[in-house]
Structures are given as C-alpha cells and as structure tokens.
C-alpha cells in the first residue's frame, strides 16, 4: 500500500531539507520525495498535510513503561499509545522494570509486547549491572543482540567508580552508549526537591546540584579514560551542563538529554506540596533553568527526552517526602517545546526536529531512523506549529495521570504520527 503525505513542509535536518515537499511511503519505508510540480502516483492514499510540518519520527530516549512488573502504572501498550499521541514514533524504556531488564529474555519480551501493540517502536535500554545493583556487569552483549540500544542503571547510578570504569570499557566493546543518571547519592540521599531557597522555605530536604555535578565529572573523566560513549540523562544543573560542554570541546564522546519539565518549571512549582512536582533530578532554580535554555540554544544539549515516569494515583496521593519521584511526559513534551522554545524565539523548527528526532537517532545509533531519506523507515511526526490546545490528565492515554501540566494551554502540537508507514495516531481522529 502506498501513502502520500501531500502539501506539507518537510524538515529533515539530516538531509538539510527544509521546504515544501511531498513524501511517498511504500512497504513501511520512504519510497520517494516528490516536488510540488511532479506527478504523484495515482494509486496512493493521500494524507493532506497542508499547513503542517512533516518531520522524521520523534524518538524519546528516556521513558519508563513499567512492564514487566508494574502494569498497574503502565503497560508497554498503554505507554506506546501515550507515545504516539505525543508525536513519538519510537521510545527507549529504561531497565528499572521488575524484574530489571538485565538480560536478553526481558529485552526480547519488551520488544514483542511493543510489536503486539503495533503502535510505537520500542528500543529497550538494558541494565549496566545485574539487577542494577552496581556489583556485577549485566550481559550487555546478549541484550544488544536481543535489541537493546544502550545500557543504564537509571535511578540507581553505579556508586563505585571502579565498577563504572569496567562497565564503560565493556560497553565500548559492543558500541553501546552508557546512559548515566548522574547523582551522587551520598549527597542527595533523603532529598525530595532541589536544595535551595525554596526547599528552605518549604522545610523539605534538598538535593544539592553538586550531587549531579560531581557524578557527571567522575563519569566524564571515566569516559575520557575508556573512550566509551557517555550519555548524560535528564541533565538539570548549570554545573553538569558546563562539564558536558567542556567534554565535547575536548573531543570526549559525551552527549546529553534534557527533560521538558527541567526547562519549563522551576523549584517554585513545589510550593503547595503537589507531589506531581516531585521528580529526580528535581526541578531546579532559575539559574539552572537559564543554563539549560542556553545549552538548548547553543547545541550543547543533544536531545529532548521526557523521562516519562508514570505512577498510580494512590502512590502520588501521599506525603510529599513519601511519594515516588516522577511525572508523565509523553503527551506534553512537544507542546512544551513549541510553547517555551520555538514560539519564544529560542530555537527554530529545524532545531526542534534535531532535538526530538535527528539527534536521538544519532545518539543511540538507530539506523535509518531520525531521517526521511529515501529507503529509511517510514516513521513520521506531523506537527501543527499553531494549534492551540489544552492538556487534560483525564484524557491521557497513559495509565497514570501524574502530570503537573494538567489544564495547561499549549501553542503547537504533534497532530499525526506514522510508524512504519501506518497512521497510528491522528489528533481528533
């Protein structure tokens, strides 16, 4: 079956493409680009993309899909439904499932569940160490063969520098990026929000920015030593951004991602003790948010990743210091990026596509994705930069509703998502 995406504005940074162009899809792949004057095939189904931006499918490098083990929060199917509704064609779930994704059987299971759901592509991230216990290396080679695209002990950062060094050396053998949750727990332990004036005011225990900075320094130095690729997850501090910036300048293989909540909210949002403002790393103060925005603008930040972390309502309806860390994010990320980055003039649409698609594909070595080059996978995200809409938790496709953006208005959205040539989501459709 052929599908023609017609009358859209095609942006594909990997091909330096930024103009009106139709895209023909056939057999799950991009079959051709057709200029405005050229004759399209008569037998293709037509998707009229007038007024829309046609981009390579958005890839979220950092999500939590909770399956196996915590299906009351999310399943791979419900997470993928939320993903495509947010404009993501591919998601990379972290290994902190139960059991931990530290072996090929679980990696394969996750991919199979995604295939059954038939929505987004799922590229699992395997654990660095068995059970993410920081003690023994997980079977990285086996997991890669099963489909894992990176390794991480996200949420439970490897505490021992010697172990991390070995993990980086080993991961390099398999060309696997090491995704690093930078947090020195000896400094942040017991903390529930950013340490600063607001934590003082609210009487909540703070997590100092230094906890992220120190771990980032340690692991960037280890990456320099080992030659491994370190990818700093959910970067949130001025200090760690500076460390990554310097590492890149030095030629160290370092990349990083930022979560939308870290460039749209400050720790002031914790006032009122809404547990939907509790996440790790925490919402930071204005100076850190300013540093993140600057790093998005100057290219230091490679990707926007949601850190989508669904939690069941009863788990969040607890005391602030007892509630779990994390918020949902798949359905609000693109709206936030449009509203806070593009429409405020910080970045243009090309950079938006780079942050959501081109770069994530590059960072996790996802071949023939993050581009619409002829022959690539036909994963596409269609954007309406001017659509005004309101996010409602109640309407979320995620099983969990723990977003701090409930009721927020947005300007700009993903309006259709195509995975493997199949339209899997259409706003209002």
């Amino acid at each position: 079956m052929k599908l023609l995406i017609k009358n859209g504005h095609l942006i594909d940074p990997a091909q330096n493409q930024n103009s009106g162009m139709d895209v023909l899809i056939e057999g799950g792949r991009v079959a051709a680009w057709i200029g405005r004057g050229e004759q399209p095939p008569a037998d293709a189904e037509v998707f009229d993309a007038s007024g829309l931006v046609v981009a390579p499918g958005f890839i979220d490098l950092h999500v939590h899909l909770r399956e196996p083990g915590q299906e009351h929060k999310e399943t791979i199917a419900s997470g993928c439904a939320a993903a495509v509704a947010g404009g993501f064609t591919s998601v990379c779930p972290m290994p902190n499932t139960n059991p931990i994704n530290d072996n090929a059987a679980i990696t394969r299971y996750m991919i199979e569940q995604a295939e059954r759901a038939g929505l987004a592509n799922v590229f699992p991230v395997g654990a660095i160490t068995k059970e993410s216990n920081g003690a023994q290396l997980a079977e990285m080679g086996e997991m890669k063969a099963a489909g894992a695209v990176a390794v991480s002990d996200d949420g439970r950062p490897v505490p021992n520098a010697g172990m991390m060094r070995r993990a980086m050396e080993y991961a390099k053998d398999f060309d696997l990026p090491v995704v690093d949750h930078c947090e020195d727990k000896s400094l942040s332990s017991g903390g529930v929000m950013h340490e600063g004036r607001v934590s003082l005011l609210l009487g909540l225990k703070g997590m100092p920015a230094l906890a992220e900075d120190l771990d980032a320094v340690r692991d960037i130095y280890l990456a320099r030593e080992t030659g491994a690729h370190i990818h700093v997850a959910h970067i949130s501090t001025k200090g760690s951004i500076e460390i990554v910036r310097r590492a890149k300048a030095e030629g160290i293989h370092a990349t990083c991602e930022v979560a939308p909540h870290h460039f749209t909210l400050t720790d002031a949002a914790v006032e009122g003790y809404d547990t939907n403002t509790k996440m790790a790393p925490p919402l930071r103060s204005e100076e850190h948010v300013a540093a993140i925005l600057e790093a998005i603008k100057d290219g230091t930040i490679d990707a926007i990743a949601t850190d989508h972390a669904p939690h069941h309502a009863d788990e969040k309806a607890l005391e602030y210091d007892r509630a779990p860390f994390g918020i949902t994010g798949l359905e609000t990320a693109v709206g936030l990026a449009f509203s806070e980055l593009v429409h405020k003039g910080l970045i243009d649409l090309v950079r938006l596509v780079e942050l959501f698609s081109t770069n994530p594909a590059r960072v996790f070595h996802l071949r023939e994705r993050g581009t619409l080059k002829v022959g690539s996978h036909a994963d596409l995200t269609l954007l309406d930069p001017t659509l005004d809409w309101v996010y409602r938790n109640a309407e979320s496709r995620s099983k969990s509703k723990n977003s701090p953006y409930d009721g927020r208005s947005f300007h700009g959205a993903a309006v259709a998502t195509i995975v493997g040539g199949k339209i899997v989501y259409r706003r209002g459709g």
């Binding site: 009487g203 309806a317 210091d321």
Partner: protein, 311 residues
C-alpha cells in the same frame, strides 16, 4: 472588633501578615482570663467538633489543643496514628476524606512530613490547623512564644532574639523567624554548621543573621530561644557526641551572661537538661518555659475559635 483572621486554615506563619499575627495574639489575650477561672469553660464553640489528628507523638501539644477545645466547649476527638498513612496502606488524601466525611469543623494535624497540612487543606472542608509538619512550621508554638515575649517585654518590635541549636530540622525556628521578623524583631541564629542550612539567612527578606558562634548570637540578646536537640541526630553524624554539643553549643549561665541583663530564655520543650540547656538556666527566674506552656492553651483557644468561624 474587626475579624483578625480571615482564613479558614492556619497552615503556617509564613503566609500571615503582621496584622493577622497581632490579631491572633490579641484574641489569645482575651482567652487567657478563662484559664484563670475556677470554672474554666465557656460555651463559645458548643456544637463544634475538633479532631486532633496526630501522626507523631506529642503529649504537650496534643493536650494543649484538647484543653483549648474543651474549654471552649467544642467536642474534641483525639486520633493518634502511630504510623504514617503509607504504612497503614491508605493514602494521605483518603485519610483526610474519610475524616472529612464525619463533618468535623476543624482538624488539628501534626505530621512528620513537611506540607501535610497544606495537602489536607486542599481536599478537606474542615479548617486545618497545623500543629507541626516535619521541618516546615509549627505556627501555634511561634504564637505562644510571641505571647510569652510580649507579656514580659511589652512588645516584639526592636527586640534582639537569638535562636540556638538544630536550625536545620526545626519547624519551631522557622515559624518563629517568620513571626518575629514580621513583627519587627531582629533574629540571629547559631548552631553547629552541620545543623544550620546553607544560605539560611535568605529564609526571610530581612533581619535574620547567621552567626558563626553561639556567643555572637547571644551577645546583647533580649530573648534567647533554645531548640531541642533530637538525640538521634548524633547517630546521623551531625555532631560527634552529646557531651561535645553541650560544651560548645549548650546554654550555660556563663554564656547567658553575654545577653542583656533582663534577657529571657525560652525552650519549646521537652528539654534535654545538661545538653542544650544547663539545669541552672532552665530553673532560673529568666526561664519562661512553663509560661510558654501556659500561654499555649490560650493561643490554641484563639486559633480554634478563629478557624471555626469565630470573631
């Protein structure tokens, strides 16, 4: 008389204006006399229900609130929850909704987690009174401290107040700092560096100083407020031993001599005699610790009265 307090809940001192604080204190003055009567009971809150919901043990605060309610003829119910809601298997919000369904007029809540009264206030129809939440606030303690200071100094404006000890974990210190600086006092705090948060002087906009040594804070003070040391802090490596704490940070007569001659000493209790406060100081005429307890009942009568729609 103009109603001094137009809020439904008393969640902390931070959000109150100086006029509101003064209004509560003036209302408490009016209730003080009831506590001196032979028959210590008035019908002011007859038919009202007050639930004392205590997730943390506290004999004196709970008793003080209970007496306050009963002296105003309210029906007081005490609920002590030895464990947090989460270990009980019920969410905090469910706990609040269940109590709320019984139509109380006021829920007095104490909890080891900061912010719980704020969270309950969002879902409860009853007025919520904060009786201490984690390291956040303990507003009625600050109000009774202020009442004690006013009684002995006539005013709070212009006073120099030293607060000493575990500032980091103290909700009493926070509420007092907000209250005292709003009413025009200057506050200095001191304690081991491990127990004084970084940048603490930014807690309020003005009149708060972090002193390097306890002696600097005490020198020339009109009021010296001592905080209770939680003995378990020693095990958390905030300071090496209780002995060392008492030597370097405890309030002794010698240190108190640095304060003004007419300086008064306050302590929220219960005291660790010989650790944060020497017995000779605690038992001296400058110590107003029992006055604090006495005024506590009047302050809580005023708060319950105002929160349940009085005034």
């Amino acid at each position: 008389m103009e109603k001094p307090f137009r809020r439904r809940d008393l969640l902390g001192i931070r959000d109150l204006s100086a006029a509101e604080i003064t209004g509560i204190l003036n209302t408490a003055e009016n209730f003080r006399e009831i506590n001196q009567r032979e028959i210590k009971k008035v019908p002011t809150l007859r038919g009202k229900t007050v639930i004392n919901l205590f997730f943390e043990n506290s004999t004196r605060t709970r008793t003080s609130f209970e007496l306050a309610a009963k002296r105003l003829s309210a029906d007081a119910v005490n609920i002590s929850v030895s464990s947090s809601s989460v270990t009980k298997g019920e969410t905090l919000v469910d706990t609040a909704l269940n109590l709320d369904a019984m139509q109380p007029d006021c829920i007095v809540v104490r909890h080891g987690s900061a912010g719980v009264p704020h969270q309950l206030a969002k879902v409860s129809r009853a007025a919520i009174v904060n009786a201490g939440d984690g390291a956040n606030e303990h507003p009625t303690q600050a109000l009774l401290d202020a009442m004690t200071i006013r009684e002995h100094k006539g005013t709070i404006e212009g006073l120099e107040v030293a607060i000493l000890g575990d500032i980091l974990h103290s909700r009493v210190a926070r509420s007092n700092i907000h209250l005292l600086t709003k009413l025009g006092a200057r506050v200095r705090v001191a304690g081991p560096k491990t127990l004084v948060p970084r940048d603490f002087e930014h807690l309020v906009e003005k009149d708060l100083t972090v002193c390097p040594h306890v002696e600097d804070a005490i020198r020339g003070a009109d009021v010296v407020m001592i905080l209770r040391i939680q003995r378990e802090r020693q095990d958390s490596a905030y300071f090496p031993t209780l002995r060392e704490y008492s030597i370097h940070y405890g309030l002794t007569n010698e240190r108190l001599d640095l304060a003004r001659k007419d300086a008064i000493v306050l302590h929220p209790g219960p005291m660790n005699r010989g650790i944060e406060i020497a017995s000779e100081v605690a038992d001296s005429s400058r110590s107003l610790i029992l006055d604090q307890v006495k005024y506590g009942v009047a302050v809580r009568m005023a708060v319950l009265y105002l929160a349940t729609g009085g005034g």
